[in-house]
């Protein structure tokens, strides 16, 4: 597997989605195992290694080959604001996945079983990307709704609530 500066596009359907032109195309420079999960990985130039690690581990956890750069910056800032240790934790999580070659589907179970101090980190990252929400309880805040990944994941069939599905009666048709 290539580990250097491999560039991926999302395919034709990506062009129809919001922010398609603003996708961050990540460049990779990680170990072979992580790269097999995220073959394009790592931030360009990586002036900030922690941010790069966040992007890489985000890509692994959400199973995406490209992520919006500006939004990634907002999520990273918000997660770091909640927990000054977050940048180091995200990097430690990436290193753990790399060093032990952990499948994303096994990750949470392993962290829970080992009572790892990192056990909440994947949940925070995936919730940020998929729900658009950072933080817990009264400190939670919404950073994305219609561009949260869970809305994008179904955007070929559904509109986010409050957005019109279509003209009156359009919902009677079989979804395709």
């Amino acid at each position: 597997m290539k580990t250097d500066l491999t560039l991926f596009s999302r395919g034709a359907d990506a062009a129809d989605r919001p922010d398609a032109n603003r996708r961050l195309l990540l460049f990779g420079l990680v170990s072979a195992y992580t790269a097999s999960l995220v073959p394009w990985a790592m931030a360009q130039e990586a002036t900030d290694a922690d941010h790069g690690a966040f992007l890489a581990v985000s890509a692994i956890l959400v199973g995406r080959q490209s992520l919006d750069a500006a939004h990634a910056g907002r999520l990273y800032a918000a997660l770091s604001a909640d927990d000054p240790e977050f940048p180091a934790a995200a990097k430690a999580l990436l290193e753990l996945i790399e060093s032990r070659r952990i499948d994303p589907m096994q990750l949470q179970q392993i962290l829970d079983d080992e009572q790892s101090p990192l056990k909440l980190v994947p949940w925070r990252i995936v919730t940020a990307w998929y729900m658009g929400i950072v933080g817990d309880g009264a400190k939670a805040r919404c950073l994305a709704f219609e561009t949260a990944l869970n809305a994008e994941a179904v955007s070929d069939v559904l509109r986010p609530p409050t957005y019109a599905y279509g003209a009156y009666g359009s919902w009677t048709r079989k979804p395709t």
């Binding site: 199973g63 990750l107 994947p122 709704f145 559904l158 609530p161 409050t162 079989k174 979804p175």
Partner: protein, 545 residues
Amino acid sequence: MADTLSADFVVVGSGIIGSLVARKLALAGASVIILEAGPRVTRAELVARFRNSTRRSDWMSPYPSVEWAPHPIYQPEPNHHIVQAGPYPYAAEYIRQVGGTTWHWAAHAWRNVPNDFRIKSLYDVGVDWPFGYDDLEPFYQEAEELMGVSGADNTGSPRSQPFPMEPVAEPYAMRRLRERLASDYPVVSNTTARNSRVYDGRPACCGNNSCQPICPIDAQYHGGLSADAAEAAGAQLIPNANVYMLEHDEQGRIAAALYYDPDKASHRVTGKTFIVAANGIESPRLLLLSKSDKFPGGLANSSDMVGRNLMDHPSTSLTFDADEDVWLGRGPQSPSSINTMRDGAFRSEHSPYRLDFTNISRVDGATRSLIAAGVYGSELEKRLRYSAAREMNVKNVLEVLPDPERRITLSSETDSMGIPKPQAHYSIDDYTRKGHERSQQDFRRIAELMGGTNLRFSKEGEFANNQHICGTLSMGNDPKTSVCDQWGRAHDHENLFLAGTAVLPTSSTCNSTENGLAVALRSVAHILGQDGAAARGAATGEARA
């Protein structure tokens, strides 16, 4: 200046019922003041709050409680506005703001079925209403025309005139339910205050799928529109006016409403007739708060019935994965039901119920479940799409019988305005529980007919609440066992009327709003017929002074 306020009619509460009562009185020429505890909030603000919410599945998240008029909040932390006395928690939700709680309803606008009015006579349970279906029928129609109700005739409630609108176009998922369940169950369109065409200047539904907590285009009727209509008819609406006491004169007639503004300055509003329409919890709370030497148990309470017979609709449910893609979330949220168990001889044994299918998008809920289960990587999107496409849910809507032991009282705790909080004494009895048990066979059969797998029944012993608060100011012919007469007039006070779902003597199996509204419109017709001339005369007299 505020202390000089006076009107023919003073209405406490600007929800759908209080506002439409006020509108009808104002159109008849009376002067009307509406006192609303909460603030004005616009539809655009509510849409923005929803989109920015961190709890999009919590319908209350766009409606935060305000300090000068608190209402119950349960997430992220409960504010304990309703003190729970048990044995079963009554987690009621309602909204104190201009327009009230129907800002975030599913707009179900059902009529009772005729036998709902006579369950004591027919089934020896509950009580009979002081009037029958035929007496209420014209007012159901009036309510439906005001709200703009769409529906079909096959729901068990006879009509003398057609629905204002045809049913809203059936979402594909509901069509599949109807087709695949046809051998066993008729799946019918819900009767809803939702536009299937342009109606009253509001557009047809365009499938935003956020009926709860906010329709962004007013294709769905709500109490904010009622409040607008009341003001357009000439009623004066005062927001942020938290009524904490009704005063009476020596004859026991109501003389004034006292309210706190947000700075807790007290104001006094006088009137000829008072109408309390502040919902099934805040209305009895206000009457209980209005104690005096003459009425030590509060107003309208010589029978000790104020706050008693608290009812709602508990639900249990089944979620399953269908064997085909149906993609809930296209079109309105709550389009279809099965009505076959709303009435029958079995009502002498167990609760009747309506079976209700959701069409709420599964995306947020499925995402949370998958993340909580540690599903990460490319599998997350794959499983999310599967759940969003396949998940379906059916719930029962169970009748609760009137029982004086289920009740709202005043707590020794006070709220942020220093006013004693409401306290709920609630329970789920065997009658309702047996209805739940009976419905489980329907749940299983429905899942079977849909090729369902991964059946997830709601936790045994847990009942979700539907926020159809009723019964706490029940109407009836006997002053010893009811709070008001069939016109909503308090047995104890000639010029005090009660309006809202609180006056309903039984809960039946349908959402309480249309019943409450139709009964209130019937009360207003009575008030105007009996007192209309006097009210119109007074409108130009001292009441305007």
